[in-house]
Subunit: 362 residues, 4 copies
C-alpha cells in the first residue's frame, strides 16, 4: 500500500488504524512563519467528530490534535507538521467474530485480496476514522487560504431521495454546522430527519450528496493537461470513503444541456472581463477563472447495516450476518468537513505550485 501521501508540493501523509492506539498525519511543504489558530482546528474536529448526531455512530472520541513538530511558539517553522490523534474508544470486542465473515460491500473483502488478511478490528485503514487526519490538516490549510481571501464551504444537498436547495448564499459554515444534518435547507432537512429515523429503526442506511463552494480562488491555478484543477479535486474527493461520484459546475446535468444554454458569455463591468454566468463551475480548460468553484460528491449508503444480511463466511458457507458495532445511518453529514478539508489541500497545493502562495515565507 503506497497510496498514503496526497499532493504535489504540499503533501499530506496519513497513518493509523481505527482501532490502533492513534491515527495521525504529516503535512510537508507548508509555508513557515504562519500563525496557527488552534481553536479553529479544534472546531473543525468537533464538526467531524463521531457521536454527535442521533443518526451517527455512538463512538466517542475527543479528537484532540496533538502537534508534535513543525510548529514552534504557535508559528509554523517550515519543518514538516506532524500531529497525532489518540483513539480512546476503539472497542475491538465489537468486531469479534466479524473476521470470519465477508461483510457485504465492505472493504475488508478487497483488503483481504490485496494484503492477505482482513484487519478484523473495525476496518483498520478503511474506516471513516482515518478522515479525522484529513480534517485536521485541512483545517490548518484552510487558515492559510483564508489569508489569501479563499473560503471553502460544503453542505449536505441530498440524503437518500430527499434533495435540498442549496443556493450560493446558503454556503455559510456557521449556519450549516449549527444543523445536525449539515443541510441549510430547513424544509429538506426536516424530511431527511424523518427518512433517517425510519431507516434507523429498520436497521437500514442511505447515501447522499455533499455540495461544495470555493470562493476567492484567483484565476490561473490548475495544471493542464493532466493535473487540471478539477482532475485533482476529483481525485481528492474520490479518495474519500464511500464516495461514488464527483461532478463540478453543471456536472452530469451539462450532458443534457445545449451549448447555447450552457455557455457562459463574457461581460465587462467594473473594469473587469468575466463570465456573466457560471455553468462552468469556476474552471475552464483545467484552470480557475476567478469565479466561485462548485462541485458535488455522491456517497453510497453505509455498508454496515443493523438489519440482518445474507452473506458467506470465509469458508463460503451462507450465513445471516448482523453487525453489532456502532455505525452511522448516514455518513454524509460527517463527510462535509472531510470534503472541505480535501478541497483545501488541493487548492493550496495548486496555489503553491503556481507560485501565488510562496512555498516558503522567507
Amino acid at each position: 500500500m503506497a497510496g498514503n501521501i496526497f499532493g504535489h508540493i504540499l503533501r499530506l501523509v496519513s497513518f493509523g488504524e481505527s482501532h490502533g492506539p492513534m491515527i495521525g498525519g504529516v503535512l510537508d511543504g507548508f509555508p513557515s512563519n504562519f500563525t496557527v489558530d488552534f481553536s479553529g482546528i479544534a472546531l473543525a474536529m468537533e464538526r467531524r467528530k463521531p457521536g454527535v448526531g442521533k443518526f451517527q455512530t455512538t463512538r466517542s472520541e475527543t479528537d484532540e490534535v496533538q502537534f508534535v513538530s513543525g510548529i514552534h511558539e504557535g508559528k509554523t517553522t517550515g519543518a514538516p507538521i506532524a500531529f497525532l490523534i489518540a483513539n480512546h474508544d476503539q472497542r475491538p470486542a465489537d468486531y469479534t467474530g466479524l473476521s470470519n465473515f465477508f461483510r457485504p460491500s465492505h472493504a475488508a473483502f478487497a483488503w483481504d485480496k490485496k494484503y492477505g488478511h482482513q484487519d478484523m478490528r473495525g476496518g483498520g485503514r478503511s474506516s471513516a476514522r482515518e478522515t479525522a487526519v484529513r480534517v485536521a490538516a485541512g483545517a490548518l490549510v484552510a487558515q492559510l487560504l483564508e489569508k489569501y481571501g479563499i473560503t471553502i464551504s460544503a453542505c449536505v444537498s441530498q440524503i437518500g431521495s430527499v434533495k435540498a436547495a442549496v443556493p450560493d448564499n446558503a454556503f455559510v459554515p456557521e449556519l450549516i454546522y449549527s444543523t445536525e444534518l449539515r443541510c441549510p435547507d430547513t424544509e429538506a432537512a426536516a424530511l431527511m430527519d424523518i427518512l433517517l429515523a425510519e431507516l434507523k429503526s429498520a436497521g437500514d442506511t442511505t447515501g447522499g450528496v455533499v455540495s461544495c463552494r470555493i470562493t476567492g480562488v484567483p484565476a490561473g491555478i490548475g495544471e493542464p493537461v493532466f493535473d487540471r484543477l478539477q482532475a485533482d479535486l476529483a481525485k481528492a474527493m474520490m479518495g474519500i470513503n464511500a464516495a461514488k461520484g464527483f461532478d463540478y459546475g453543471d456536472g452530469f446535468a451539462a450532458a443534457e444541456s445545449l451549448g447555447s444554454a450552457h455557455n457562459d458569455p463574457f461581460t465587462f463591468a467594473d473594469n473587469v472581463i468575466r463570465p456573466a454566468s457560471n455553468h462552468a463551475g469556476g474552471i475552464l480548460g483545467g484552470i480557475s477563472t476567478g469565479e466561485p468553484i462548485h462541485f458535488r460528491v455522491a456517497f453510497k449508503p453505509v455498508s454496515s447495516l443493523g438489519m440482518s444480511q445474507r452473506t458467506v463466511d470465509i469458508h463460503g458457507t451462507p450465513k445471516d450476518l448482523t453487525i453489532k458495532g456502532r455505525h452511522d445511518v448516514c455518513i454524509v453529514p460527517r463527510a462535509v468537513p472531510v470534503v472541505e478539508a480535501m478541497a483545501a489541500l488541493v487548492v493550496a497545493d495548486h496555489m503553491i505550485m503556481s507560485g501565488i502562495i510562496r512555498h516558503n515565507n522567507s
Copy 2:
C-alpha cells in the same frame, strides 16, 4: 504548466499543440520485450480520428503514429517509447481574429489569465487534438493488458437528453465502433441522430455521457487511502477535455439508494467467494474486487457554436461572435476511445505498482 505527465510508474508525457507541426508523447515505464501490434494502434487512431462522422469537425488528419524510440524490430526495449503524430490540416487562418475575443466557455480565457497570452491558433493545448496522444499510448497499453486478460470497452450512453440502454453485453468494441455515434443501443442512437441533425442546422451543440466497462482486472489493485483505483480513474477522466463528471458503480444513483438494496451480498460458487451483484462497480475500499469495473464520464456541450453568441472582445466591448472553425456538434462519440485509453493507462499503472505486471520483463 507542469501537468503534462500522467501516472505513477507507467507514465505518459503529452506534448504538442493543435496547430503546431505535430503532437506526440513519451511512454515511460512500459515493460520490455513486448511485441507491438501496430495495426491495433492504427485502428484505435482511426476510431478517434476527426472528420469521420457527419456531426464532427471536418478537419482531416491521417493520424499516423510514428514511433521514434523504445521499439526495436517490433518489440519494446524497455527504453521510453516516444511517438510523433503530424498535424496536416491545421488551417490557422480559420482562427484569425479570434484572438481579439474571449469565446464563451472556451479555455482561452483561463489560459490568458495563467500564461499571459491566448494561443490564437485553435486553442493550442486545450484542443481535443491533444487526446490523439492519449489514444496512441492507450492503445499500446491496452495490448499489454489484453495479455493479462483485461479488456476495456466504452460507449456513448447519453447524448443531450437521449439516454441509451447499455447492458453489460453491449460492450463489444467491434459493434460499438461500427456505429457512427459509438452507441450500441440502436433505438437511442436513431433519436440521437435526429437531435444532432437539428442542433447542427441550428449551429448549436450538446453534451453527453460515456460509459466504460473493464473486465478481467484481478482483485487487489488500487492503493488506499489516496491512490484508490477510483481516485486515479477519476483524475484520469476529469483530465479529459470537456469532462464535467465522473461516477462509478451505481454512482450518483447510489446516493438515493438504501444500504439493504445497494449492498452486494457475497456468495460461494465454483469454489470462489464473490459478490452476487455489482452495485460497487468492481471496487471496494479503493481496491479492485475482481468483478467488472464500470464507470461513467459526463461531457459538457462543445463551447464553439456555429450560431452567433454575445460576448466581449479583449477590450471589454460587447460583440456578437460567430466562430468559423470546423467544430463538432457533439464531442462525445470521439471521447469514447479517449476514455478507453486513459482507463488503460490507470489500470496498467496499478497492475505494475502491485507487481502483477512486472515493470520489466527480465
Copy 3:
C-alpha cells in the same frame, strides 16, 4: 520545506525536531504480512545512539521505537508503518543565547535565510538526531532485504588523515559494531583514537569517510537514464547531515586510471558469465550487475567546536563564540548505521520498482 519524503514507491516520511517532544517517521509502501524482528530494530538504534563513545555527544536517549500503525500482531499489514521516538534529553537551555549568533558553518544561517527564523534549540531539523528516524526505518527495510539474500554493511574507512584498510571480508557488522569507532582495521582505529583524543582536548573536530558494501543484489535493478541506481544512492547519501562527497566502485580514483586497467573483463565460470573484477562497483549503465555494490561517503568535520571561534552576532558585530552544547568530536562513526539505513531504502525501493520484491504480498 517539502523535502521530507524519500523514495519512489517505498517512501519514508521523516518528521520531528531535535528538541521537540519526539521525532518519528512513516514508511509507506512496505509489503504486507512481513514478520518484524523488533529486536533487530532496537539493535540498529543502539548502534546509532548518542552517548556511546567517548568522542561523542553525551546526550542520552533510549531511542526506543514505538510503532503506532501498520503492524498487527508482529506482522506488517500493508498500511503505512508509523513510528515515534521520544526525545528525553533535549536540554534546550544549552542553546540559550545561541540564537543571537551565526555559528560558523552551521545550518542555522541558511535556515534563517529560507524560513525567516533560526530554530534556536539545537538546530531543529538539521540536527543529527533526525537520522534516528532513518535508522529505524532502514533497519526494518534491511530485514526485508535479508529475506531476498541482500546484506548491507558499512564501516569507517577514514577519520581525519588516518585511512583504514577495509577489504571485502572486513564488512562484518558484528565485528564493526563491536568497535567504538566502527572501524574494522584495528591498527588504523588505534591511530584514529589518538587523533580524536587530541582533538577533543583541543576542542576541535574532524571529518572522515564511511565505506559501504552491499551483497546479494540481483542483476537488473536501477532505472536509467536519470534514476540510475548510483544516482539514487548518491541522492540518499548526500541527504545525510554533513555529507560532502559520494563515489562508487573505483570512484574518484577511476578518474586517474586507464581503461585497460579499469575495465572488468568478463569470464565464464560455474555456468555464469560475470566480471572477473569489480572496478565498476556492482553497477553498469545505472543497473546492478549482480556483483557486490560498494560506495563511499565523505563527511565534513562537525561544525560545533569546543574551542572559541570568531564570528558575528545577528547584528553583524564580531564576537568570539564558544558553543557549550554536548557535541561529537567526530560524527563519522555514528553515520555508519545511517549510511546502511539509507542504502537499504534505496535498494528496496528499486527491488520493488523492478517487481522483484512484490509491492504487496497478496
Copy 4:
C-alpha cells in the same frame, strides 16, 4: 525502465536511442512568456558535439535542435517544450557482431540482465549521445537562470593523472570552450594533450574530473531533509554516463580537515552578514547560502578501447575483442556542457519550488 523523467516541478523527459532516427526531450513546467535565444542553444550543442576534438569520436552530427511545441513566435507559451535532434551518422554496421560479446565494463551486460536483450546498435540509451537532450534543455534553462543573475560554468580539472589549477576566476565559459580540452589551465592542458595522444596511439582511454561553479544563486533554495540542494545535484550528476563520484565544497578533502580549519567564520561587510570563506561550497544544511556553489564530478575511462581486450562471448567462450566503432579517448571534455546542463535543471527546479522563479509568468 521508468527513470527517464528528471526533476520535481520543472521536469525533463528524455527519449531516443543512439542509433534510432532521432533523440529528443520534453521540458515541462517552464515559465511562459520567456523569449528564447535559439543561437545560445545552438552554441551549447556545438560545444557538446561529437567529432570536434582530435581525441573524440569522429561521429559527425549537426545536432540541430528542432523545437516542435511550447514555443510560439520565439516565446515560451507555458505548454510543454518538446524538441527533436536527428541522428544523421549512426552507422549501426560498426556494431555488427558486437551483440555476440559482452564488452568489458559496458552497460550492455546490465541492460541484457534487466531488459532481456542487448541493444546491439551502439549502446542505445546508454550511449553518451543521449546527453545531447540534456544539453539542449539545460541551455534553455540556463537562459532563464541568467535572467535571475545566475551563471553556471564548468571545466575539466583533471584528465588521467594530470590535475589542473582551476581558481574561481578561471570559470569563464568563453575561454574554457575556446580550448579543445575545456581546461583553462594551459600548462596542465598541454600535459593532458600529451597523455591523450599517447593513449590514443595505444588504443587506451582514461577518465577525469569536471569542476563546476554556480554564482548568483540566492540564499534559501534546497529542501531538507531529503531534497537538499546537494542531494539533487548529486543525483543529477551521478545520472550522467560514466560518472563515478560527486563532491561539493571541500568534498572528500573535508574528510581530512579539522573543524577549526574547515569552518567558514561569518563576517559583516557592506551591510551583509556572510561567510568569510567558502569551504562549504555555497550550501549549508542542504540550503544555498548565497555564496558560489562549487562541486566536482569524477568520470571513469571510456570502456570501449581501441586495443584488444580479453572477454567472453554470449556463450561464455573466451575471446579477444577489438571494438571498431568511433570512440572517445577521453569523454571528460565533452561532459563539461552536460554537467552545466544538469546543474541548470536542478537550480531552476529549486528556484521554482521555492517560489523565487514563478512557475508561471501570469
